[in-house]
Amino acid sequence: MLGMNGKDTTLFIVVCLMVLLAPILLNPFPTGSAFAQFNAGYPALLQRFVIFGILVIGFNILFGLTGYLSFGHAAFLGVGSFAAVWMFKLLSYNIVPAIVLSVIVAGLFSVVIGYVSLRRSGIYFSILTLAFAQMMYSIAYSDLVGKVIGTPITNGETGLQVYNDDPQILLGDGPKTPHLFGLEMNSSFTWDVGGWSFVFQNGYYLAGILMIASFYLAIRIFRSPFGLVLRSIKSNQNRLNYTGISTRPYMLTAFVISGMYAGLAGGLLAAMDPLTGAERMFWTASGEIVIMSILGGVGTLIGPILGAGVIKYMENIVSTINDNVVHGWVAFMPDGLENFFVAIIHPFIGKGWHLTLGLVFMAVVIFLPGGLVELGQRIGAKFRRKKSPESAATSAEKGTV
């Protein structure tokens, strides 16, 4: 379907359904129940799932296919956000020009940074991208450009946002919040059923549709001759050169495509909440993208999206669990045991979520080098073996999920 093979079509349909039904599927616990806190189906978090999904889908086209590890991808995300907020300030809250410009600007930046960084490979490439991103972060944080030309561009530490006296020449009497031709991003529809309450938000669905489109494009790239060349770069760049293929333009194209994906994600972040700051470009943000990809499964289609989901979930859910909440769950225990249990759990929850993430990450890297996707494959393989022992032998055409 749509030029995809059977397996990819299935995967694509599953992703579409997940995006469509996420507000329900990720809200399994009734509102007010003890576990409601584990619900992830609220708009602010759902938006993050799909926006960071877009970011890592793009990152995976570079890192997953070619093996070139960019350590500065958050810079393109940040640039995209700044471009989008500027469109809000100058034109209106319509997100179309904002998102278009964020993709274009991120694309331009990635042409320049890619051109220079791709002169080296391996660790030197990573360091170059990191250096560029940190430079851009510093420039944004101190608003160097703004100081030179005399008007704020990134607005330094304060961050960039829309003020009432901004030009907004196309605003008229349109909405005063980001919208798609009048469809406001933050407006939503709530469906109360039984003890549950499901929220369907415009912003989430817009970002979700764009993630589906991004995912579709990534599938096509993975299966195209271009994608094959990118994979061969990862496998043996030497052979490729002696086979008459110039790797540079292929690498630069992959770099720019993934930069534009990041720009789209940045533009969408601003479209959900029309303000941004330099911290979006900080190196830890770039590191998070790398961790998402590795956690999920580098070079697989679905892996990075899963990785982004797990990390955003932990960042937003595990970080909100505090000692009182745990006391609530284990209240049935005798007091001494209860306190002991809470004391043990304490370092891993709330602000300690990074520790939990670190442990999960280490466990995955050591035991599941293929990431969460490998976990899925192993479980799937076990089930299949139980059903029919001979079918396991036909796994010759494994391919990338």
Binding site: G3, N5, S224, P225, F226, L228, L240, I245
Partner: protein
Amino acid sequence: MGILEVKGVNKRFGGLQALGDVNLSIAENTVHAIIGPNGAGKSTLLNVLVGKLIPDSGSVLFDGQSVLGRQPYEINQMGISRVFQTPEIFADLTVFENVMIPCFAKRDGAFRLHAIGSTRHETDIHETAEAILMDVNMLEKRHMVASSLSRGDKRRLEMAMCLVQEPRLLLLDEPTAGMARADTNNTIDLLKEIKEKRDITMAIIEHDMHVVFSLAERITVLAQGTPLVEETPENIKGHPKVREAYLGEAQV
């Protein structure tokens, strides 16, 4: 004038003169063997021809055009393909994908943005790739990941990757090293067949004299970076200088 003209090529590695004043002319549509003891500079000479090394002095003309200073991919696009002494293949990809890539390079040139169409729908490329895999007897292994192949199969795969580009000059660096006798004979037959089917020039480095005498029309003996003799196979057997160069290392 030959299709390949090497004139006065010198290459030093520190104090070692790997190539000293090499002159070599390879006539079009012939098989030219380069033999010589280990460390004679045979692979180094090929490295110069494919742009991996830049010589200190001298000139290399392919079909009248200078090769020196060009990138390896440009030289390949001129029509020179090389099989390496240790197989250079795409180890993570399947056998079939390995062969598809040179097909794309041949058809689309050094770069073409071809990001949406599926490789599955490239029927021409599939046909060409299948035909060459049939030629090297590897069609049934086409879904195997290349890293899992035997050493001999890796060589045959690399040869298929070079042949499928229909190069005008094919450079083979010890193509049968590590192959079983039967595979060696198959390789000889394959190269003979290719030679009969179309115009191709081959330069072959080989230690196995059975291979050399089965294929070569001219033989150059290289020793310590310098060509000693260039002769027909009949005249090279028992040539005093050749015996001297080998000092019993291989039975000529």
